[in-house]
Symmetry: C2
């Protein structure tokens, strides 16, 4: 591909202000990902933002940081959505369903971004995947630990359990997004059944 000319001439732009700030770059990156899939190039993102690559590097700092920033965005959307879904609800199975459904719906609403975040780039993505997961897992672990203590149980399992639940949601979402024969609520019910009651369901007989 020929080098993209951005239509502007070199030099500081008239007005003395930055043409785009960090948030606008991330917005452009999201649009580019939605349009071109998880494999977008930095140049395509820069073009979408109306600037050139060095500006991306000045605002964000390379492909790794871009991936981290976008993953953090998605994680925060999920956390916010989940928090508002279970606000005021007593701990219990129905709250768990709300938690799971809110998570699934947010993922579906940010489909391309989710696919990008879960392994789209070429970086040390195991590390990033873990980083993304920890953003969701950390608040969950805090809640879980607190609840375990309140009900008289050992809170030591909270961290492992939170990663377990986040991992369960991650892969299940990926699977779900490629099959769609199930509503978010339907899948949330199935997962809630496993998480709340466990495999140890006694025989009907």
């Amino acid at each position: 591909m020929v080098t993209v000319s951005s239509g502007r001439r070199p030099g500081r732009p008239a007005g003395g202000k930055q043409v785009v700030d960090r948030e606008l770059v991330l917005d452009a990156a999201e649009r580019a990902i939605r349009r071109d899939g998880p494999l977008v190039s930095l140049e395509a993102i820069a073009l979408e933002a109306g600037v050139t690559k060095p500006v991306i590097y000045a605002r964000i700092g390379g492909r790794t940081e871009l991936s981290n920033a976008l993953s953090a965005r998605l994680a925060e959307r999920i956390v916010q959505s989940v928090l508002s879904a279970i606000a005021g609800q007593p701990v219990g199975r129905s709250a768990l369903v709300l938690f799971l459904a809110a998570n699934l719906e947010t993922v579906a609403a940010n489909r391309e971004l989710f696919l990008y975040a879960t392994g789209g780039s070429s970086d040390d993505s195991p590390q990033r995947s873990l980083y993304l997961a920890s953003q969701s897992a950390a608040p969950l672990a805090a809640q879980l630990g607190q609840w375990r203590t309140a009900t008289g149980h050992d809170p030591a399992v909270a961290e492992a359990w939170s990663y377990a639940i986040v991992g369960m949601l991650q892969l299940t979402s990926l699977w779900w997004l490629n099959q769609v024969e199930l509503t978010a609520h339907g899948l949330a019910e199935q997962l809630a059944e496993l998480l709340w009651s466990g495999l140890r369901t006694p025989p009907i007989a």
Copy 2:
């Protein structure tokens, strides 16, 4: 980097036999990954195998297929390890612990390969991640469905549950590999507690 000269001259090798076959290429790829991390180049793998890139393409067929083949290898090792661990065991919590521990131990024994398989490359890795997961999830779903039916429950949840369990193990493994303050058996116990009894643990009081 300069083009790697492999020491051999062009032309069909004396003896008329292939210098390396598909399995040897995959072995070399594993060694290269163990040595250089998940970001190894195809050239480095070719060098490790003692051949050049076009041979890799002839045997395997590009980066995507290489990733798939390596992921399939890991998946099969995990499945085999798990099957031999629970062979002859009655369904129950202790069998679940064995299942989880065998899974974790195999992942730990193939650390670099696992990191490579869970997002190391630059391809459509969401698809590959799902492909890898399905290799573990499919047999699990069959067992789960069978067991659900045998105990008089709806087997429709089996597929979602199997992906849930595999995803749980995937992310938990990733987290565990970066912290190591827990034995495989210890973590397996914590996960078994969640999976077997669920969150609905009644208050002690």
